[in-house]
């Protein structure tokens, strides 16, 4: 067998046995699993926000309306279909949808609860989209049952019903506000609202009291619904026609964004398109990790071989060039195996991705341009950094020595990471273009720009840049490797190393006079 391949094969076989390799293979799926798990955990661990309302409005109409509106909104989240349908259509569709649900579906159960409490079934979706007032306490008490809450939670919607719980007190004594303050202080309540007697008055100010200064969600939620409620009430008092209301309420609106396709026609930008445009960030990040992991493997491996004193035995059988090529190929194959396993696990993982997002993740992850770029630019990036690191590894006797030489490489490697987001936002901008033609960044930048694929000539030009850079890098690496690999003692200075590049084959630089040249 060809000696280069023999060396490569051994490297590959050996790496398969290392922890780094299996960590590399598993890191990606584990990372994703952890991200999902931790995300869920965070969501679940966020305590239900207990709050109270001290409503001075007449008959407490404001807080009732707010809760009613919020509930309707929550329920609407379960309703399929677009928002553009008329309320009559929606009502009909909602009814059909509920009929189609399983007996044990929480929404179906909720409806049963309402019906059995004597609330008219049809009242559940009145044309104005609000619930009858008597439904409110029924729904609230139904949702406070942990089993029901859990069932709702499983549906995966973000429900105010579950996040915020109104605490009602029968008797707060003579100074209710003081009582509530005490409860906030004790941590019994997260917050309480004090609603002004006449919320419709333009000068009225209601109050929000809470000791948590960072989580503003509860106040925003209340404020959002209260604004709508108050606005609707004011409009009603002005005695306006529906059309007048609509003309006042309607803001300036855009239709869905459009884009121009290859044949010059415009088409709607889908959610997939938007997410897809950001997908390269994830790919660049993974690419970066993969390139760095593999190139670093090569570095440690070279240094280990050198400090193991194996080099001389190997060089008595193979040439330095064969040895270097073998190592680069063997570890490259290892890296490619890791990358391929990531791609496969991503493809499998997509099958299990939550369906409710309204986007087809599979289409983004499985995009052949992204996957193809990922593998191709992994190879290009790995080879480029492999040439640099194998040269560094060859002149160092320990990882510690290598670290100081690695510093400039580290700094260079940070650039594509920093540029990741700006480049995704402007994939064909000046910065993206300039960075593309700096060889050490080319693979990352081309991956980064894949969202808005650069023209074919850029692919061609950047490929030429990479190929030329690879030839130069390996030419230099080979020269440094053949001299450095036999050196022991102090690592050479950069200036000395540059001197080797000029030296013809077979000449060993002056620092080689040391313990190894007895």
């Amino acid at each position: 067998m060809n000696k280069t391949l023999l060396v490569a094969q051994r490297e590959f076989a050996e790496n398969m046995r290392t922890k780094t390799f299996w960590l590399g293979i598993l890191s990606f799926p584990i990372l994703i699993a952890i991200a999902i798990f931790v995300g869920k955990l965070f969501e679940q661990s966020k305590d239900v926000r207990r709050y109270a309302i001290l409503d001075h409005s007449e008959g407490q109409w404001l807080s009732r309306a707010v809760l009613d509106r919020s509930l309707t909104e929550d329920l609407a989240k379960f309703e399929p279909g677009e928002d553009s349908a008329t309320s009559e259509e929606r009502k009909e569709r909602f009814r059909e949808w509920i009929e189609s649900l399983d007996e044990d579906h929480p929404i179906r159960q909720l409806r049963e609860a309402l019906v059995s409490a004597g609330i008219d079934e049809s009242a559940m979706n009145r044309p104005d989209g609000t619930l009858p007032p008597e439904a409110l306490p029924i729904i609230l008490s139904w949702a406070s049952d942990p089993a029901h809450a859990k069932a709702l939670e499983k549906l995966g919607r973000d429900l105010a019903l579950l996040d915020y719980r109104l605490v009602e007190y029968d008797d707060l004594g003579g100074d209710p506000e003081r009582e509530l303050r005490r409860r906030v202080k004790d941590g019994e309540l997260f917050a309480f609202f004090v609603i002004d007697a006449d919320p419709l008055d333009l000068d009225s100010r209601s109050r929000y009291v809470s000791n948590n200064k960072s989580d503003d969600d509860l106040r925003k939620w209340f404020s959002r619904h209260a604004t709508e409620v108050v606005r609707a009430e004011r409009i009603e008092r002005l005695d306006l026609t529906d059309r007048e209301v609509a003309s006042i309420e309607a803001g300036f609106r855009f239709a869905e964004q459009e884009q121009v396709n290859d044949s010059g026609e415009s088409e709607t930008v889908t959610k997939e398109d938007k997410l897809g445009a950001h997908a390269p960030i994830a790919f660049v990040y993974l690419l970066w990790i993969a390139v760095f992991t593999a190139a670093n493997m090569l570095l440690t491996n070279t240094i280990e071989e050198k400090s193991n004193r194996l080099i001389e035995v190997l060089l008595s059988s193979v040439s330095p060039l064969q040895l270097m090529a073998g190592k680069v190929i063997g570890i490259g194959a290892t890296g490619l195996t890791i990358v391929a396993s990531w791609v496969v696990s991503a493809m499998i993982g997509v099958q299990f991705a939550p369906q409710g997002l309204g986007v087809d993740l599979g289409a983004i992850v499985g995009n052949p341009l992204y996957l193809g770029s990922f593998v191709a630019y992994f190879l290009a990036g790995y080879l480029l950094y492999a040439a640099v690191l194998v040269a560094i590894g060859s002149v160092c006797n320990s990882l510690k020595e290598a670290q100081s030489l690695m510093q400039p490489v580290f700094i260079l490697l940070m650039v594509p990471l920093i540029a990741m987001v700006p480049v995704v936002q402007d994939p064909n901008g000046t910065m993206a273009k300039v960075l593309t033609y700096i060889p050490l960044f080319t693979p990352f930048l081309m991956m980064n720009r894949a969202a808005a694929p650069p023209p074919a000539w850029e692919y061609a030009a950047s490929s030429i840049v990479i190929l030329v850079a690879l030839v130069i890098a390996f030419w230099g690496a080979a020269k440094i490797f053949r001299i450095g690999i036999l050196m022991t003692g102090k690592p050479p200075k950069i200036r000395e190393i540059l001197g080797w590049l000029r030296a013809p084959v077979g000449i060993v630089g002056s620092p080689a006079r040391d313990s190894s040249t007895r």
Binding site: M1, K3, L6, V7, R10, E14, R17, T18, N308, R309, L310, E312, V313, L314, L315, S316, S317, V318, S319, L486, V505, G506, I507, V508, G509, S510, P511, A512, R513, S516, T517, R518
Partner: protein, 305 residues
């Protein structure tokens, strides 16, 4: 005579430093050639040039009849002074790997590695990892890796260092076996006794230049004879005689001593001075030891260091 290795006017420089200077050497096929010389003299550089790890700046090297040493690498075996193994590889695997690197097929190398390990009494180590090996054991494994492909020319750099007497015996027998099989063996050593015991030829390099080259008996015959004394007692007497101008040089090892009388001094006179002061077990006149020759060539400055 056929030569396994010929160096003609070979020079190797590292920058301003000349590691090997105008060296010519012919090593007959089937001989055992000892390379001696102080640290830093150029032994390893010479060996590395033969193994085409380095290339000479000047001169010509012919290995196994080829002017391009790199083309016959597969027919050479090299055991470097610094010995190392892949820690995580298994013993059987690594010996076979060295064979494969020399062009053996996978099957052939695996079988042969197995056979060698069994023959050298290491069969229970075949499936163990190299990191579990003791130093001597590791050295044995490395030697087998050097020999697995049946090299015609074997170069052993300090093969005896760190070996216990049993393994030293094994190493010696291995070298002698190779000679019997018609292979050529070059080995470098700092232990003169070993060189004297097995070498057909001795080559000595000092400060990049050749200072000795020839059969052991030739070399020894070219030096004047000395007195070998085996004794018990206080060796201070030798220094005493040297101070009195009777002796030129003494190599006192404690129980045995080599004496070189000053010109014109009769060995009998030396003997007369020794009688009664030490217990003499043997007293004879013979060619100088390799140690003496080595020291004379290297001179005082190395001894001082």
């Amino acid at each position: 005579m056929e030569y396994a290795l010929t160096l003609s006017n070979v020079t190797k420089r590292f920058g301003n430093f000349t590691a090997v200077d105008d060296l010519s050497l012919r090593i007959p096929t089937g001989s055992i050639y000892g390379f001696i010389g102080p640290n830093g003299a150029g032994k390893t550089t010479t060996i590395r040039m033969v193994m085409s790890i380095f290339y000479p700046d000047e001169g010509k090297i012919t290995v196994l009849g080829s002017d391009r040493p790199e083309s016959v690498k597969d027919r050479l075996g090299y055991l470097p002074e610094e010995k190392g193994l892949y820690k995580t590889m298994r013993v059987g695997e690594i010996v076979a790997y060295f064979g494969k690197l020399k062009g053996m097929s996978n099957r052939e190398a695996t079988d042969r590695a197995h056979e060698l390990l069994v023959r050298y009494g290491a069969s229970e180590w075949i499936d163990r990892k190299c990191q579990a090996l003791s130093k001597g054991m590791g050295q044995k494994v490395q030697l087998l890796g050097t020999l697995i492909h049946g090299p015609e020319l074997v170069i052993l750099d300090e093969p005896f260092s760190g070996l216990d007497p049993v393994n030293m015996e094994l190493m010696r027998n291995t070298i002698l076996d190779m000679k019997r099989e018609g292979r050529t063996v070059i080995f470098s050593t700092h232990v003169m006794k070993q060189a004297e015991e097995i070498c057909d030829y001795i080559f000595m390099i000092h400060r990049a230049k050749k200072v000795l080259d020839g059969t052991l008996s030739e070399i020894r015959a070219s030096y004047e004879k000395g007195i070998q004394v085996d004794y018990d007692g206080d060796g201070a007497v030798f220094r005493d005689l040297q101070n009195r101008g009777l002796l030129e040089r003494i190599n006192d090892s404690g129980k045995t001593c080599e004496l070189f009388p000053r010109a014109g001094v009769d060995p009998q006179e030396v003997l007369a001075h020794l009688v009664g002061r030490i217990q003499i077990r043997r007293f004879d006149l013979r060619e100088p030891s390799l140690h003496e020759i080595f020291v004379r060539n290297v001179g005082a400055e190395v001894i001082a260091s």
